[in-house]
């Protein structure tokens, strides 16, 4: 395995994963994409390989990112993108930056926040949430009540804090799984297309 964040067109690091999709919706998606000779999101290979696991994962992901709550799906996608950027996961960063951009109305705003949060035009309330996601991602054992106090002082309630924590935790899972198995970054157009799909349909396929 390499340490490069992008490997367009490459296969996954574990050949067995790509060679053994389980029957189901993800295998169907892969086959349809291959028949069009199009690039496809190779996270589908992971989802097809362990369908007994990923069926629950997809439902959980949809709930975390889309359940009605006092924090919008767009902001939750921004937390996902920011967490992924901090974990240097290329695929997840591009996928969720595209989805956040679709939901928030500006991909440029999303990327400005990822590259330099403090200098970005995001409001202070949103910045406080992303700073907290950064602490949970890179400063884990030392996360404390003071970190929460800052987010609460900015105006977020318990429900928003719960979904922010859960989203950040979930993407600390996805980022590790995706980078360790070698899911490659796609073209910008492919990520935008997937972002439109995820923004409108969410994460449940079966």
């Amino acid at each position: 395995m390499t340490t490069a964040p992008t490997r367009p067109g490459k296969t996954l690091y574990l050949p067995d994963v790509e060679a053994n999709p389980q029957p189901g919706v993800y295998r169907d998606l892969i086959e349809a994409a291959k028949s069009r000779s199009g690039e496809y999101s190779k996270i589908w290979d992971l989802f097809a390989y362990r369908q007994d696991v990923t069926t629950h994962l997809a439902r959980f992901t949809h709930g975390v990112l889309r359940a009605p709550a006092s924090i919008s799906p767009g902001l939750r996608e921004l937390i996902a993108a920011y967490t992924s950027y901090r974990n240097e996961c290329g695929f997840c960063t591009h996928a969720h930056a595209a989805t956040a951009g679709e939901l928030l109305g500006s991909e440029e705003l999303v990327w400005s926040a990822l590259r330099d949060l403090e200098a970005s035009p995001l409001d202070e309330k949103t910045k406080s949430l992303l700073r907290f996601a950064g602490r949970m991602t890179n400063g884990l054992p030392s996360v404390c009540a003071g970190d929460i106090d800052a987010v609460r002082a900015a105006g977020w309630d318990d429900e928003a804090i719960y979904y922010a924590i859960t989203t950040c935790a979930l993407f600390n899972f996805y980022n590790r799984w995706i980078t360790a198995t070698g899911v490659p970054v796609m073209s910008p157009d492919a990520h935008r297309a997937q972002g439109r799909q995820l923004a409108s349909r969410g994460y449940i396929r079966d």
């Binding site: 359940a67 429900e159 859960t166």
Partner: protein, 180 residues
């Protein structure tokens, strides 16, 4: 003291689930299939990986509960799972599990740290691709569970007896069965 107003009648991760049960329900099903579903890795091995990663993340609740679950799968031999946590290279476990724990340790830091050499080492010890993949999956999942638990600061019991009983339930009844 939890960071948000979690339901106070339960301790540990269940209080976090109880805050938004519809959103959290698939997590219990995920834990069940990851740790107790049919797998060439035994539940003892998988719970040991979970306890190991949780100790690296310094998550006391997850470490203590999965340590107990692992022990219950290993005829209550806490010393085995403790040896894994303290120094897995010298622990009384198989070379295959040691190679998989090396991968789990790297996943805990970053998925980008896992190398082709780590994968080859595991294969040389008899690990299949699905076992390597599932080790990555479990290690990554506990990097989520540990952050969920500690980000929310769930009430964390301190008594060994509490975790011993919890571990027995986790090992015997699993993660989805309703509490009696």
């Amino acid at each position: 003291m939890p960071h948000i107003a979690l339901p106070g009648n339960v301790a540990g991760i269940r209080s976090a689930f109880a805050f938004r049960p519809e959103t959290a329900r698939p997590l219990t099903e995920l834990a069940e299939v990851l740790l107790r579903g049919p797998n060439s890795l035994t539940s003892g091995e998988r719970e040991s990986i979970a306890a190991f990663v949780s100790s690296l993340n310094e998550c006391r609740f997850c470490h203590a509960s999965h340590r107990a679950a692992a022990a219950h799968h290993l005829e209550c031999r806490y010393e085995v799972v403790d040896a894994v946590t303290a120094d897995y290279q010298s622990a009384p476990v198989s070379p295959k599990l040691k190679a998989l724990l090396a991968i789990a340790a790297k996943v805990q830091r970053s998925g980008r740290e896992v190398t082709a050499a780590d994968v080859e080492d595991a294969r040389a010890c008899g690990a299949t691709d699905i076992e390597i993949h599932d080790t990555v999956l479990i290690a990554a999942a506990f990097c989520m569970f540990n952050r969920y638990v500690d980000g929310l600061a769930v009430v964390t019991p301190t008594e060994h007896e509490v975790y011993h009983a919890m571990g027995e339930r986790m090992a015997r009844q699993g993660y989805v069965a309703p509490r009696a």
